[in-house]
């Protein structure tokens, strides 16, 4: 089964896993939720991700000026697609997901709910504080699951998620190195890593890598693109860019490279290591200050030899829309051309296609 097919079926897959294993499933709204902790306490973490059949289901609880991804999740919840969840955990990152968390808890009444108030900036004092926040989550989960926290179980979870991230980085490396892997596949892999049980993901990634390595390199066709934005879900957008002869080799979104970080070093207290790792991860727009966003952008441009950047922003996305002029300036200084697209509720549509075509033409002639 391909990653794309697994996304289509992920809710069924997780529900089956819940029934067969007897483990509770807890939904997460953001990649900053320390899934290793959930896993170590016998929970199956599942990032809420997808599109509702009818977005307007959300109108009863959310205004139209809330970003489409948040409205989609609320509508999915109201459609009953997440009724099997045992709970929900969020890390306060952006205001819209915080609001969603609160409204979700109030209206859908999950059996377990918790918000981790993580530090926003990586300052010296943040580690002790982050560990304290993680301990509160552990205490509440112990009480909910009736499982006892253990360092060994956390080490095991850290190793499993580390393995997944390492395989995913390898996929990015193979694509950047010239293997014909579409970004749609990479995106689907990224989603699967967030929504499927980690053990399943390890197995699928091993098989995927084995198969990918048998492909003939095509030299990495076309311009090397960095795709940046918050929640980008439009496979047609990704396919359109690559069908136009470009190669999306890196990303800066709520999925993908930023979530993979550096491998976690061993030794010492696993909880402290885990907190350090989350704090050191390249930060998202909701958490970062400009210098760290700039650093990540420049490092990624260099590491992946990026020749053009496409910003794809969700409408009403405060963190990313606020960062955009600054990052655009960073790119101009670096001499890297960029295009800005603002996604509407209907997703990748005609106007955006026309602008992309013009951008690519400009790159060709420029």
């Amino acid at each position: 089964m391909s990653f794309e097919e697994m996304i289509e079926r992920h809710i069924d897959i997780v529900m089956r896993e819940k029934i067969s294993s007897g483990r509770p499933v807890i939904g997460t709204l953001c990649s900053y939720v320390p899934v290793e902790i959930l896993h170590s306490l016998g929970v199956i973490p599942m990032r809420l991700w997808g599109q509702a059949d009818d977005l307007h289901e959300a109108d009863a609880l959310l205004q139209s000026y809330i970003c489409p991804p948040v409205r989609h999740l609320m509508a999915m919840g109201l459609e009953g697609r997440y009724d099997f969840l045992d709970g929900i955990v969020h890390c306060y990152t952006c205001d819209a997901t915080c609001g969603l968390f609160n409204i979700w808890v109030r209206n859908l009444e999950p059996g377990f709910s918790h918000m981790v108030s993580i530090p926003y900036v990586s300052i010296d004092e943040a580690l002790e504080y982050a560990v304290a926040e993680f301990r509160i989550l552990i205490d509440k989960l112990e009480s909910f699951t009736q499982n006892e926290f253990s360092g060994d179980a956390l080490e095991n979870a850290i190793a499993l998620y580390g393995e997944v991230r390492s395989h995913m980085l390898e996929v990015y490396g193979l694509k950047a190195g010239g293997l014909p892997i579409s970004y749609s596949e990479v995106y689907s892999m990224n989603v699967c890593s967030q929504v499927l049980p980690v053990e399943m993901m390890v197995k699928h990634l091993e098989e995927y890598l084995e198969e990918a390595k048998r492909k003939e390199p095509d030299g990495g066709r076309g311009r090397r693109i960095l795709l940046t934005g918050s929640v980008i879900t439009d496979i047609p957008l990704m396919a359109f860019i690559e069908d136009a002869g470009c190669n999306i080799v890196a990303d800066d979104t709520c999925l993908g490279l930023r979530l993979l970080g550096e491998p976690m070093p061993g030794g010492g207290d696993p909880l402290e290591r885990l907190a350090s790792w989350y704090m050191a991860r390249p930060p998202c727009a909701s958490r970062a200050d400009f210098p760290s966003r700039k650093r990540y952008m420049l490092d990624t441009l260099e590491a992946f030899e990026i020749t053009a950047v496409v910003f794809a922003h969700q409408k009403f996305c405060d963190p990313h829309l606020s960062d955009y002029p600054f990052l655009k300036g960073v790119l101009e200084e670096a001499g890297v051309p960029s295009l800005h697209l603002e996604m509407e509720e209907e997703g990748f549509a005609g106007r955006a296609q026309t602008r992309l075509e013009s951008f690519f033409e400009m790159l060709e002639t420029g």
Binding site: A60, L61, L62, Q63, Y65, I66, Y92, C94, D95, A96, C98, G99, L100, N102, I103, V105, R106, N107, M115, S117, I118, P119, Y120, V121, I123, E125, A126, E128, Y129, A132, E133, I136, S286, R287, D289, F290, K315, F316, D318, P319, L321, S322, D323, Y324, P325, F326, K328, H340, E342
Partner: protein
């Protein structure tokens, strides 16, 4: 977000109706002087070489500033002034020209446009803002506030203190949150001591904290008077909040609020309401429309008065001068969740309590395109008001900074129908 930066924009006469509001508080004259003095002090400090620091609102750092003779400037507090005097449109245009989406918060767009372009203009009201000598950039409050300071840090070539203030639901604030805040405040003290070359006098900080505590106590007493029927003043007087934002930690706030309290208590004793024949008492949710603060007077056409608001509760807290660092850390943590959706359940409790305590007949909810943290959860609030308290409400679309995102005609049509409904129930 943070609607706590009240601005004393003069209440405009009703655009329609019987023009009943002639009873503005006398304290407004003093308030105008306090505002002028606040900005004049900033320019004087600049001229005399004393440091001016720009900081985000809704935190306890102001006490530290005043204890160290540093003049604070709150760009977010400047935004409502721009909206009232009409320079917001120019600032929005500057922000748009620099690539900022018109969907972003109006405070953000105004402040970026002003700080990056407008600040250099000649003949500004109140002299404009003195440029910062340093900036404090928090991971804190709402995203637009945080991002405003990131843009400012990139623009102004001045020292920056970066700190953190996680969002925690009011009911979840624990010892480790306070401890985290105190650690950073200690680091900030070191930063400010290096900057000024002077040591912080802890006695002066305790004194500043005591002033804030007293101001909060008087604030609660002032709000208490609005529970009386008829209410002695309406939301159109919300400009008195200016001192709660800019002059906490000083005797200025305490003296001014004491005078306000005397005045409103006098009105209560005389049975003098803001309008003579009060029939309907209203609750207002979300930030006022700073570009049209006179909107509050529109309700008077129907003998209605706004007697309580969401965010006037942002100052319902106590400080302990014996523990100044813990107090300002606590204040920094509680101001934001008191009015936003960080803790929706707590906010709904506050609304319910206000509706009961202030004898509210109906609620008006401003669905504010410029403020997601306050606006999210408003449908839940409406349902609770209806289901649990049988209180009718209306919600209208608007924007606290941008008049182009608000239709006065639609507002009036909806309010008229709503008032008729409330009068029928009375």
């Amino acid at each position: 977000m943070s609607g706590e930066n009240a601005t004393p924009t003069p209440a405009l006469p009703p655009r329609e109706g019987r023009g009943k509001t002639a009873k503005r508080l006398k304290a407004n004259a003093a308030l105008r002087q306090i505002i002028a003095d606040f900005y004049a002090d900033g320019h004087r400090a600049k001229a005399e070489g004393r440091p001016v620091g720009w900081i985000p609102p809704m935190n306890g750092l102001i006490e530290l500033f005043y204890a160290m003779d540093i003049h604070p400037i709150f760009p977010e507090n400047w935004a409502p002034i721009c909206a009232a005097i009409g320079t917001n449109s120019r600032n929005f245009a500057s922000a748009a020209q620099r690539g900022y989406s018109s969907d972003l918060c109006g405070y953000f767009r105004n402040n970026i446009g002003y700080a990056l372009d407008g600040i250099d203009e000649e003949n500004q009201p109140l002299g404009g803002l003195p440029e910062p000598d340093f900036l404090i950039s928090f991971g804190a409050g709402c995203i637009p506030t945080m991002k405003t300071f990131q843009v400012l840090c990139d623009h102004f070539d001045v020292p920056v203190f970066r700190a953190d203030l996680p969002q925690v639901a009011l009911e979840d604030i624990g010892e480790h949150h306070i401890r985290y805040g105190v650690t950073q405040i200690k680091r900030l003290i070191g930063f400010l001591e290096d900057l000024t070359g002077r040591k912080l006098d802890m006695d002066r900080l305790s004194e500043a904290v005591a002033y804030t505590d007293e101001a909060c106590r008087i604030w609660d007493d002032i709000m208490e008077t609005r529970k009386v029927v008829p209410a002695p003043f309406s939301a159109a007087e919300i400009g008195i909040m200016f001192v709660m934002v800019t002059r906490h930690g000083t005797k200025v706030a305490v003296d001014f609020l004491s005078d306000v309290l005397d005045e409103v208590r006098g009105k209560v004793e005389r049975g003098e309401g803001v309008i003579p024949n009060e029939k309907i008492r209203l609750f207002w949710d979300n930030i006022p429309l700073w570009h049209n603060i006179g909107l509050f007077n529109y309700f008077e056409k129907w003998d209605a008065v706004v007697v309580a608001e969401t965010y006037s509760s942002a100052w319902t807290m106590r400080m302990d001068p014996e523990k100044p660092l813990e107090s300002i850390a606590y204040k920094s943590l509680v101001s934001y969740p008191l009015v936003s959706c960080v803790s929706l359940n707590k906010r709904i409790e506050l609304v319910k309590k206000a509706v009961r305590d202030y004898h509210v007949d109906g609620a008006v909810l401003h669905s504010n395109m410029s403020c997601k943290p306050i606006s999210m959860g408003q449908m839940d609030i409406q349902r609770v008001l209806h289901d649990e308290l049988s209180i009718p409400s209306i919600m209208f679309d608007g924007d606290h900074m941008d008049g182009d995102k608000f239709s006065l005609a639609q507002f009036q049509t909806r309010v008229d129908a709503f008032m008729e409904l409330l009068l029928d129930r009375a």
